[in-house]
Protein backbone atom coordinates (compact mmCIF):
# COMPACT_ATOMS: atom_id res chain seq x y z
CA UNK A 1 0.00 0.00 0.00
CA UNK A 2 2.80 2.46 0.84
CA UNK A 3 4.51 1.98 -2.54
CA UNK A 4 1.20 2.62 -4.29
CA UNK A 5 0.68 5.73 -2.16
CA UNK A 6 4.11 7.00 -3.16
CA UNK A 7 3.29 6.49 -6.85
CA UNK A 8 -0.06 8.27 -6.46
CA UNK A 9 1.58 11.16 -4.62
CA UNK A 10 4.13 11.52 -7.40
CA UNK A 11 1.30 11.54 -9.94
CA UNK A 12 -0.58 14.25 -8.05
CA UNK A 13 2.63 16.25 -7.63
CA UNK A 14 3.30 16.03 -11.37
CA UNK A 15 -0.25 17.20 -12.03
CA UNK A 16 0.36 20.15 -9.68
CA UNK A 17 3.47 21.09 -11.62
CA UNK A 18 1.50 21.01 -14.88
CA UNK A 19 -1.26 23.16 -13.37
CA UNK A 20 1.39 25.56 -12.06
CA UNK A 21 2.80 25.87 -15.58
CA UNK A 22 -0.63 26.86 -16.86
CA UNK A 23 -0.99 29.29 -13.94
CA UNK A 24 2.23 31.02 -14.97
CA UNK A 25 1.69 30.86 -18.72
CA UNK A 26 -2.09 31.31 -19.10
CA UNK A 27 -2.78 33.96 -21.72
CA UNK A 28 -6.00 35.20 -20.10
CA UNK A 29 -7.02 35.78 -16.51
CA UNK A 30 -9.66 33.06 -16.81
CA UNK A 31 -7.01 30.47 -17.70
CA UNK A 32 -5.11 31.38 -14.57
CA UNK A 33 -8.26 31.04 -12.48
CA UNK A 34 -8.90 27.60 -13.99
CA UNK A 35 -5.36 26.58 -13.09
CA UNK A 36 -5.77 27.95 -9.55
CA UNK A 37 -9.00 26.01 -9.06
CA UNK A 38 -7.30 22.87 -10.34
CA UNK A 39 -4.37 23.47 -7.98
CA UNK A 40 -6.72 23.69 -4.98
CA UNK A 41 -8.40 20.45 -6.06
CA UNK A 42 -5.02 18.78 -6.42
CA UNK A 43 -4.06 20.02 -2.95
CA UNK A 44 -7.20 18.37 -1.59
CA UNK A 45 -6.25 15.12 -3.30
CA UNK A 46 -2.73 15.30 -1.94
CA UNK A 47 -4.02 15.90 1.58
CA UNK A 48 -6.31 12.87 1.34
CA UNK A 49 -3.34 10.77 0.21
CA UNK A 50 -1.37 12.15 3.14
CA UNK A 51 -4.21 11.13 5.47
CA UNK A 52 -3.97 7.63 3.98
CA UNK A 53 -0.25 7.56 4.60
CA UNK A 54 -0.08 8.86 8.15
CA UNK A 55 -3.44 7.72 9.50
CA UNK A 56 -4.16 11.24 10.78
CA UNK A 57 -7.67 11.67 9.47
CA UNK A 58 -7.68 15.31 10.55
CA UNK A 59 -6.15 16.01 7.12
CA UNK A 60 -9.56 15.35 5.59
CA UNK A 61 -11.00 18.31 7.53
CA UNK A 62 -8.18 20.50 6.25
CA UNK A 63 -8.96 19.30 2.73
CA UNK A 64 -12.62 20.16 3.19
CA UNK A 65 -11.68 23.69 4.32
CA UNK A 66 -9.45 24.18 1.29
CA UNK A 67 -12.26 23.00 -0.98
CA UNK A 68 -14.76 25.40 0.60
CA UNK A 69 -12.47 28.38 0.16
CA UNK A 70 -11.51 27.38 -3.38
CA UNK A 71 -15.13 27.23 -4.56
CA UNK A 72 -15.94 30.65 -3.12
CA UNK A 73 -12.76 32.03 -4.66
CA UNK A 74 -13.58 30.63 -8.09
CA UNK A 75 -17.10 32.06 -8.09
CA UNK A 76 -15.79 35.43 -6.90
CA UNK A 77 -13.13 35.44 -9.62
CA UNK A 78 -15.76 34.67 -12.23
CA UNK A 79 -17.86 37.59 -11.05
CA UNK A 80 -14.78 39.80 -11.04
CA UNK A 81 -13.85 38.87 -14.61
CA UNK A 82 -17.38 39.59 -15.78
CA UNK A 83 -17.66 42.97 -14.03
CA UNK A 84 -14.24 44.11 -15.15
CA UNK A 85 -15.08 43.38 -18.78
CA UNK A 86 -18.40 45.21 -18.49
CA UNK A 87 -16.76 48.29 -16.97
CA UNK A 88 -14.08 48.29 -19.66
CA UNK A 89 -16.79 48.13 -22.33
CA UNK A 90 -18.72 51.03 -20.82
CA UNK A 91 -15.64 53.19 -20.51
CA UNK A 92 -14.40 52.17 -23.97
CA UNK A 93 -14.09 54.30 -27.10
Amino acid sequence: MSALLLVLQIAVGLASLLALWRLVRGPHLADRVVALDLLATLAVGFLVLRAFQTGHWLYVDVALGIGLISVVGTVAFGSFVEHRAREAREEGP
Partner: protein, 92 residues
Protein backbone atom coordinates in the same frame (compact mmCIF):
# COMPACT_ATOMS: atom_id res chain seq x y z
CA UNK B 1 -11.13 -6.82 0.01
CA UNK B 2 -11.97 -3.31 1.17
CA UNK B 3 -8.26 -2.45 1.03
CA UNK B 4 -8.08 -3.45 -2.62
CA UNK B 5 -11.24 -1.51 -3.44
CA UNK B 6 -9.90 1.60 -1.68
CA UNK B 7 -6.57 1.29 -3.49
CA UNK B 8 -8.33 1.00 -6.85
CA UNK B 9 -10.51 4.02 -6.09
CA UNK B 10 -7.52 6.10 -4.99
CA UNK B 11 -5.61 5.10 -8.14
CA UNK B 12 -8.59 6.07 -10.30
CA UNK B 13 -8.77 9.43 -8.51
CA UNK B 14 -5.08 10.18 -9.00
CA UNK B 15 -5.31 9.13 -12.63
CA UNK B 16 -8.23 11.44 -13.27
CA UNK B 17 -6.36 14.32 -11.60
CA UNK B 18 -3.31 13.72 -13.76
CA UNK B 19 -5.48 13.62 -16.89
CA UNK B 20 -7.16 16.87 -15.84
CA UNK B 21 -3.80 18.61 -15.40
CA UNK B 22 -2.58 17.25 -18.75
CA UNK B 23 -5.72 18.59 -20.42
CA UNK B 24 -5.36 21.99 -18.79
CA UNK B 25 -1.85 22.23 -20.19
CA UNK B 26 -2.55 20.75 -23.62
CA UNK B 27 -5.90 22.23 -24.67
CA UNK B 28 -5.89 25.47 -26.63
CA UNK B 29 -9.18 27.09 -25.68
CA UNK B 30 -10.29 28.42 -22.31
CA UNK B 31 -13.57 26.52 -22.59
CA UNK B 32 -11.76 23.29 -23.38
CA UNK B 33 -9.55 23.81 -20.34
CA UNK B 34 -12.58 24.51 -18.18
CA UNK B 35 -14.28 21.39 -19.48
CA UNK B 36 -11.25 19.30 -18.62
CA UNK B 37 -10.53 20.77 -15.18
CA UNK B 38 -14.14 21.02 -14.12
CA UNK B 39 -15.13 17.42 -14.67
CA UNK B 40 -12.09 15.17 -14.37
CA UNK B 41 -10.65 16.85 -11.29
CA UNK B 42 -14.00 16.84 -9.50
CA UNK B 43 -14.52 13.15 -10.20
CA UNK B 44 -10.93 12.43 -9.18
CA UNK B 45 -11.17 14.12 -5.82
CA UNK B 46 -14.58 12.56 -5.11
CA UNK B 47 -13.21 9.12 -5.92
CA UNK B 48 -10.23 9.69 -3.68
CA UNK B 49 -12.43 10.82 -0.78
CA UNK B 50 -14.62 7.74 -1.24
CA UNK B 51 -11.47 5.62 -1.04
CA UNK B 52 -10.58 7.36 2.22
CA UNK B 53 -14.10 6.73 3.53
CA UNK B 54 -13.78 3.04 2.72
CA UNK B 55 -10.31 2.65 4.14
CA UNK B 56 -10.64 4.61 7.38
CA UNK B 57 -12.74 2.00 9.16
CA UNK B 58 -14.19 4.68 11.43
CA UNK B 59 -17.81 5.75 11.17
CA UNK B 60 -17.31 9.45 11.82
CA UNK B 61 -14.38 9.76 9.45
CA UNK B 62 -16.22 7.79 6.77
CA UNK B 63 -19.26 10.05 7.12
CA UNK B 64 -17.10 13.16 6.88
CA UNK B 65 -15.31 11.83 3.81
CA UNK B 66 -18.59 10.92 2.12
CA UNK B 67 -20.01 14.36 2.90
CA UNK B 68 -16.87 16.01 1.53
CA UNK B 69 -17.16 13.92 -1.65
CA UNK B 70 -20.80 14.98 -2.06
CA UNK B 71 -19.77 18.59 -1.42
CA UNK B 72 -17.13 18.47 -4.14
CA UNK B 73 -19.51 16.80 -6.57
CA UNK B 74 -21.99 19.63 -5.99
CA UNK B 75 -19.70 22.63 -5.91
CA UNK B 76 -17.22 21.70 -8.64
CA UNK B 77 -19.74 22.24 -11.46
CA UNK B 78 -20.99 25.44 -9.78
CA UNK B 79 -17.56 27.07 -9.83
CA UNK B 80 -16.91 25.78 -13.34
CA UNK B 81 -20.23 27.16 -14.56
CA UNK B 82 -19.64 30.57 -12.97
CA UNK B 83 -16.25 30.84 -14.64
CA UNK B 84 -17.50 29.63 -18.03
CA UNK B 85 -20.39 32.11 -17.90
CA UNK B 86 -17.99 34.95 -17.16
CA UNK B 87 -15.71 33.99 -20.05
CA UNK B 88 -18.66 33.56 -22.43
CA UNK B 89 -20.13 36.96 -21.59
CA UNK B 90 -16.75 38.65 -21.74
CA UNK B 91 -15.98 37.43 -25.25
CA UNK B 92 -19.43 37.96 -26.76
Amino acid sequence: MIDILAAILAAIGAGFMLVAALGVVAFRDTFARLHCAGKSATLGVASMLLAAALWSGDGGVALRCALAAAFFLFTGPIGCHALARAVWRTRA
